[in-house]
Amino acid sequence: MEHDLAAALLDPEFPTPAGLGGWPERLAIHRNNVVSGLIDHLAAVFPATVRIVGEDFFRAAAGVFVRAEPPSSPLMFAYGSGFPAFLEGFPPAKSVAYLADVARLEWAVYDALHAADAAPLDPNALGRLPPERLDSVRFRFHPAARLIVSDYPVVALFRANRGPDAAGPLKLDAIGEGALVTRPRADVAVHAIAPATAAFLAALQDGAPLGAAAASGLEADPAFDLAASLSLILTSGAATALHFQE
């Protein structure tokens, strides 16, 4: 019985289970609770994505996702992590090339809210190191820190579509940018970063020492600003500790 009901909830073509006594057509109420409820959850997590494609398109796309990849646990704060990748491969959304990146940033912001707490790194910690050790120092990232790399102005698109005002005109031929999401204490912050800074942070997050990560930044852009990028780490709460382990 439960097996047939479960199958019928996500598949409107599935025949109504025979064991339903009175009012079998009311199974539609449960179908709607399940599918609409999950779509509502996604709409709440991805409001900029909703605004970019419009409510109708979003609900149709989310409906396909919900049936293909329903939640696998009762932890609803974990549901939706696969939605940006789904959008990237969803043919009807192909014309909005930046959509999946905006969704990735929205997921990062939502996910950061639920990550573990940790005290951010003392901003003076790096200055106390002997200069000859700087090249080999590594950063432990904050559990809530998230890095998004994009070929599009993802933070500008995110901000323009999350605020109370309607989206203003955006120059989409603008160069790509990255996003650093942090939550040093209660509030989530989104920082727009240059692609070279994104490459630098990605290398650090990967465990590279400072010297090698700086080389990654310079490789991405000879004008990479190491001092400003370090300052961002220290002031944004992206890291919690320094260490020298391989």
């Binding site: 097996h3 064991g19 339903l20 009175g22 079998p24 609770n33 646990s73 704060f77 639920h114 559990p143």
Partner: protein, 304 residues
């Protein structure tokens, strides 16, 4: 899962773990008003699954609310009514939350929500018969043993019925109470919704309901829809104020049980805090009236 915050004051687990006051569901958007404005709300109920994350603002809010108010932990994802075994990982998460926040009340649903690795995020119905009774009773035993506390089981709102059902819902609940020693969370809105949808008398349902076991009452709003045949079906939507028939039914309950901790549920289209608090004030007023009545009845019976 390690919980980042210390537990609040431990309180004894008596038959009446909190005073019979009116509470509301805990909503993050109400955090500031809950903590900084006078409101007289007696307790707050949180959905356990929303606080199973590692850290962040949800735990910050719950920790400060814990310090100042009574708490009720309401699970919405354990699938106690399901055919499969209970999810031990999920049970462990509930036990961790229980240990961390020490809520005075804990409740879950007579329903299932997971099957074959999929979580449906809905409270789904089950047939009532000897086989399901045995299964649900075993699940309740397992929960109570694992959490080392008594749980309250909530009656569902129903839309469909099963040809395999051989027990009435009230008989089923009463037998679960008898076998497991669990208490019941009587959702009065669910009684009204099911009664209208299935064409039974809500008052007869209450006559048969094991009211002695009720440790908490839920009140909520419902939506009304018209079916293809022109009939009316009520949806347990939790998206508006409590309806008049539900308030009336609540008074019937109170006249028999005396005051019981009563929670206003409003989970969708959540209103401004004062609107929600006003619903709790209305419930509190009824609790007071029936509390006085119950005391008089007791004095009369005891001859004092």
């Amino acid at each position: 899962m390690t919980m980042p915050f210390s537990a609040g004051p431990a309180r004894g687990r008596t038959k009446n773990p909190i005073p019979a006051s009116a509470g509301v569901g805990l909503k993050p958007q109400h955090g500031r008003e809950i903590l900084e404005t006078p409101h007289g709300i007696g307790f707050f109920e949180f959905h356990a699954e929303n606080y199973m994350c590692a850290g962040g603002p949800p735990h910050r809010l719950l920790s400060v609310v814990r310090e100042r108010f009574f708490l009720s932990m309401h699970g919405v994802g354990l699938s106690i009514g399901g055919e499969g075994p209970l999810d031990r990982e999920h049970l462990q998460r509930l036990a961790d939350l229980n240990e961390c926040y020490r809520p005075e009340l804990f409740s879950e649903h007579l329903a299932w929500s997971s099957h074959g690795g999929t979580f449906f995020n809905d409270l789904l119905p089950l047939p009532y018969n000897a086989a399901t009774l045995q299964r649900v009773a075993a699940h309740i035993d397992e929960v109570q043993a694992f959490l080392n506390r008594r749980m309250l089981l909530e009656n569902p709102s129903s839309y469909v019925t099963f040809s395999e059902s051989t027990w009435s819902e009230t008989e089923f609940l009463a037998e679960l109470v008898r076998r497991t020693g669990c208490g019941l969370l009587l959702d009065v809105n669910n009684v009204h919704v099911s009664a209208v949808n299935q064409g039974f008398e809500a008052l007869s349902y209450l006559e048969a309901f094991p009211l002695d076991a009720v440790g908490e009452v839920h009140l909520a709003g419902h939506a009304t829809e018209t079916e293809a045949g022109g009939g009316r079906v009520l949806i347990d939507a939790h998206d508006r104020a409590v309806a008049d028939p539900v308030w009336a039914l609540y008074e019937v309950v109170l006249s028999r049980t005396g005051p019981v901790p009563t929670l206003i549920e409003w989970d969708n289209d959540v209103p401004a805090f004062p609107v929600l608090a006003a619903e709790a004030v209305r419930a509190a007023a009824l609790l007071q009236v029936h509390g006085a009545g119950a005391s008089d009845a007791y004095r009369a019976a005891a001859g004092t």
